[in-house]
Amino acid sequence: MRVVVIGAGLAGLSAAARLTEAGAEVTVLEARDRVGGRTHGIEVAPGAWADAGAAYLGDRHTELTALMAALDLKATPTGMVGDSRFELGHGSETRHGRFPPLNAVALGELFDRLAEVTETVRTDAPWLTPDAATLDTTTAADWLEGLSPHPDAKLFFPLFLGEMMAADPAAVSVLHMAFYLRSGGGIRYLNAFEGGAQQDRVDGGAQQICARLAAGLDIRLRRPARAIDSGPDGVTITTDTETFHADSVIVAIPPVLADAIDIRPALAVPRSTTRTAPGCAVKAHLIYPAPLWRDHGLSGWSVNAHGPLLSTVDDSPDGGPGVLTGFVTGAEAHRYAALSPREQRATAIAQAMRLFPFLPEPDGFHVTDWLGETYSRGCYAALFGPGDWTRLGPALTTPHHRVYWAGTETSLEFFGLMEGAIRSGHRAAADILTDKQRTTS
């Protein structure tokens, strides 16, 4: 059996590895000149890597943990020791722990409402959730307004959704918000570092997972797929210069990019709509000789009402330089992405120096703009807008002729995370193997 996989990110490579183990002949076509997709490393000092894309994992990410063990990769705790900094509209403040200096009762009310709506979602079929029609046509921003929120809840909500799912509340449906939060383990698990989804990072960088998976696989770089033709005898995948023939193909790329491929026969249900929005995340890395904030009793964690850096976190590799990662998410990501490199640098550094006044000029500065990545079109994951789950959901994982689907956006478990990507790849591989067994027996 021959299989072509389109996309050499975690989903595509997980599928390719599974199928290879099962004896299939697999070729992976990758548009970029590297593997990894939305995992990507930046070498911030010789031998020291920072995650420009997906970075964090927790205990519940069992497929990722198993894959890392098989690839001889270790997890390193994110560890957050010390006080936090906040700029939430009344100057800057230092506080113990991660809790922002906002009205706790108001935030509690917000989390109560979020927990309620999250608990109603059917993660096995979000479009069948009770009241799906209303939840899918209302944006998260309108939902919040309907709660007549306290000003502190109003201030915090976009920061929270930005951090959890890189979403602008005006761009996602309530159904997608609730689904995403539940699929990832609920608001508490997704929000937590220790004991939650940000407990660990991959020691040496998450980009190593794909690099190691790729070793031993047939990967063709710089081959964006342009067309897929399914016929009675097989499937043909066309790139700019070549054609590849196979029995099946797995499309393991974000939904908007999948729709850019000319698929024949045509799809009855597209992979995305005009309401499907890119995950809005830009990551800035500020590199210092050491994690200098630790000497001042600070963890490096901050939450800020105004950008560009809506939150910062200490991502310093063990024994390496100090790496302060700034997250620019939601609507702010669009504004920041539109700035010149010089303005991006100046505004990020100025904010870091307001938050941590003892910091010198950084030794290094890197911006990773996922919105501008032609072959990702956003990060963490595509955001389903109003109507999307009802229209796209039922066909999310359904094979189309010889075409199978993978990618974190096709995983109902841990959607948007590395764990979801791996699970989707394994599911697509299993779908192909099951179908093959059916046709040959």
């Binding site: 809790f99 009762v105 935030l107 509690g108 009310e109 989390f111 929000n191």
Partner: protein
Amino acid sequence: MNVDGVIAIFRRVLEIEEINADSDFFELGGDSLLATRVLSGVARGSGVELTFDDFLLSPTPGALAKRIGAGE
């Protein structure tokens, strides 16, 4: 709100049944996000709005009920 009312809120938010007047919220896995949900439950049930720092100083149902009593 009496101590039983606070215990009921702890049970709901922590999703743990074994809670008594001396159970420490943070030792049972509670974090700051869940703590705010206890405080909103207290405010709904008693009308008393406590702060996050109040809760850090009184992280058991017994101690929290005393603070609520002082505010009622």
